[in-house]
């Protein structure tokens, strides 16, 4: 009984992901597909040709998007990793208040936050700049980063860092060789989430970038709104593929770093050598 139920749930869940995705995929490869007809009127790659044609704004904005999101992700990680560590390990007055406070961007709508920051950004000359967009993209990622790192540091504690110091590692060495590798799984999951949040950001980019910072979603959304299903679907497919590729690259890089940390001895005394 129970197994049957969980299987049904699993299938429903998968279908709810896969079906819309299939629709988008099919749409992106049609020539046209007027409403009441069941089958598209032929297939083609017009949408992709449009996106990848030389001089297309799409390619340029794709690069802008990747650049902005990667920088925003790095900055957010740079803030939330130490922040999560402090919340996860150390005791200090006002800790429980801060724990709730950093979740604010989840609770308060980004519209409100964006509006609140807008005035300040104008005064600082950050509106209509890529830097401004990067900075505002940090905000929605913070709760996720803090949450994940707080939980991880609550789990791993300070024990290994203490051991590292005792063995002669300075602060930077401790961080690079011990802290970072132990929280790599957290960096991967937090980093992926933060990247996706930034990469798919429309409203905050529009508000702060004012249209002069053209990210990929900024080009994509008008097609969806105007009902150009073919172009919207093609943009979506490119969006998904690029996002996946960047995530994969992030994960691979971090895993490589992790493996390198096993120490040269790990390379020299490889398992094969031990067995032989």
């Amino acid at each position: 009984m129970k197994r049957g139920l969980s299987r049904i749930l699993l299938i429903t869940l998968s279908l709810s992901f896969i079906l819309p995705m299939m629709m988008v995929l099919i749409w992106s490869a049609t020539v046209s597909w007027p409403f009441p007809e069941i089958f598209p009127r032929g297939f083609g790659l017009r949408g992709f040709q449009e996106i990848f044609r030389p001089g297309s704004p799409a390619l340029y904005s794709l690069l802008t998007s990747i650049r902005i999101s990667i920088i925003a992700t790095l900055l957010t990680l740079g803030i939330t990793l130490p922040g999560g560590k402090a919340l996860g390990i150390y005791e200090f007055p006002g800790k429980s208040f801060i724990k709730i406070f950093v979740l604010a961007p989840l609770i308060i709508s980004p519209v409100a936050i964006g509006m609140g920051v807008h005035g300040t950004f104008i005064r600082m000359g950050l509106t209509n700049t890529e830097l401004g967009v990067v900075l505002i993209h940090i905000v929605p990622g913070i709760p996720y980063g803090i949450r994940i790192f707080t939980n991880i540091f609550e789990l791993v504690g300070e024990d290994l860092e203490e051991q590292g110091k005792v063995l002669g590692a300075g602060s930077v060495q401790t961080f690079m060789h011990i802290t970072l590798p132990t929280v790599i799984p957290g960096i991967i999951s937090a980093g992926s989430m933060i990247f996706i949040i930034s990469f798919s950001q429309y409203f905050l980019t529009f508000l702060i970038g004012g249209g002069s910072v053209q990210t990929f979603p900024l080009l994509m959304v008008p097609y969806i709104q105007s009902g150009d299903r073919l172009m919207a679907a093609s943009y979506s497919v490119v969006f998904i593929i690029v996002a996946l590729m960047v995530l994969l690259a992030i994960e691979k890089t971090l895993r490589l770093y992790y493996r390198k940390q096993s120490g040269i001895a790990g390379v020299f005394y490889s398992r094969k050598k031990v067995r032989s």
Partner: protein, 363 residues
């Protein structure tokens, strides 16, 4: 070789004094133990020496120089923790190599030293494994090897045997004693097992509630403990019930003793203690000794292989006794108790303990 000195060290956690005005000196190349029950501040003391925890009061000297402002990584005091704390993302070899890597020792030398160290601790075959793939005893050896490879000035061992079974424990104990004698590293071992301390150390300090109650050689601690608490820590003991004290004679339930030898130190408020093995039992009416025995009755007998433990009722009081091998007495037997006078231990009572603490403070 290095000398370590702690001077009036105090540490407060959440308003409570976890370490109280601790004074301790470890001579060059010496191995000592800190013994104490759980929560008595032993680990905290080690962390203070290594600089992982900052003391509110007091100073630490390594080789006569104050290290209060020297950060952990430059103190040269290595802690080997009870829970090993191996780096999970590094191989066994990588773990051992870590300290050398931090000192930026060239790769070739690192390789050679790691290999030597692996051999030294008998783990040549395991250098490429990850910590999750070796046994508890092996992890312990990796942790020790990882500490030794940086040639620490001071080695701090935090309950290194507590997670091992009896056989492995004995093996590791002699392993550590061997290393310590060979390398002559100044070592402080922390434990709550009296045997760890007695077997390995030239001096033992007993801690209760953050206070170093007594510090001396194993013989001193076992034979002349300063308090009943300390004596109890080193095994079962009888507090001999006193009847009255005269000018030069102490009258007790177990007979009268003259105030001479060790008993000279007996004063008002003192306690008289007796180890079970210093109580002899003999047949009632036995007259081999001119010294009259005290009649008693066996109320309990526990056979434990190398020893047999008895409880004897004397004038309504229970006295513990033990004999080597299989004791011939059974429950309900009537016996005579005699005391080896030279084995009586005199220690101060509770109030006297406090004055001793005050005395420490002045030092």
């Amino acid at each position: 070789m290095t000398e370590v000195k702690l001077q009036n060290i105090s540490k407060i956690y959440n308003g409570e004094e976890t370490v109280k005005n601790l004074n301790l000196k470890v001579n060059k190349g010496e191995m000592i133990s800190l013994l104490g029950p759980s929560g008595s501040g032993k680990t905290t003391t080690l962390k203070i020496i290594a600089g992982l925890v900052e003391a509110e009061k007091g100073r630490i000297f390594i080789d006569g120089k104050s290290v209060d402002h020297v950060p952990t990584q430059k103190r040269g005091a290595v802690i080997v923790f009870q829970d090993h704390r191996l780096f999970p993302h590094m191989t066994v070899g990588g773990n051992i190599e870590f300290g050398l890597r931090m000192q930026r020792v060239p790769k070739e030398i690192r390789r050679k030293k790691v290999q030597e160290m692996l051999k030294f601790v008998g783990l040549e075959a395991h250098g490429g494994k990850f910590p999750g793939e070796i046994s508890g005893g092996q992890k312990q050896r990796v942790a020790i090897a990882r500490g030794l490879i940086v040639s620490p000035k001071v080695l701090l061992l935090d309950e290194p045997f507590s997670s091992l079974d009896q056989r492995l424990k004995e093996e590791m104990r002699s392993f550590i004693v061997d290393i310590q004698r060979t390398l002559k590293i100044t070592t402080i071992l922390v434990s709550h097992d009296k045997e760890d301390a007695l077997v390995t150390s030239s001096k033992i300090g007993v801690m209760f509630d953050g206070e170093l109650i007594q510090y001396g050689t194993p013989e001193e601690l076992y034979e002349s403990p300063k308090s009943l608490e300390v004596a109890r820590f080193f095994g079962e003991i009888n507090e001999v019930p006193l009847i009255k004290t005269e000018e030069d004679v102490i009258h007790t339930v177990l007979g009268a003793f003259r105030k001479k030898g060790t008993l000279q130190g007996f004063e008002k408020g003192s306690k008289l203690l007796l180890r079970p093995e210093a109580v002899t039992l003999s047949k009632e009416g036995n007259d081999y000794s001119s010294d009259p025995g005290i009649p008693g009755k066996i109320t309990n007998r526990i056979y434990a292989g190398e020893k047999t433990y008895y409880e004897v009722e004397v004038e309504g009081l229970r006295i513990k006794a033990s004999v080597l091998g299989r004791g011939i007495w059974q429950v309900e037997d009537s016996v005579e108790i005699r005391t080896l006078e030279a084995s009586l231990i005199v220690c101060r009572g509770k109030e006297a303990d406090n004055t001793m603490g005050a005395h420490n403070e002045k030092e």
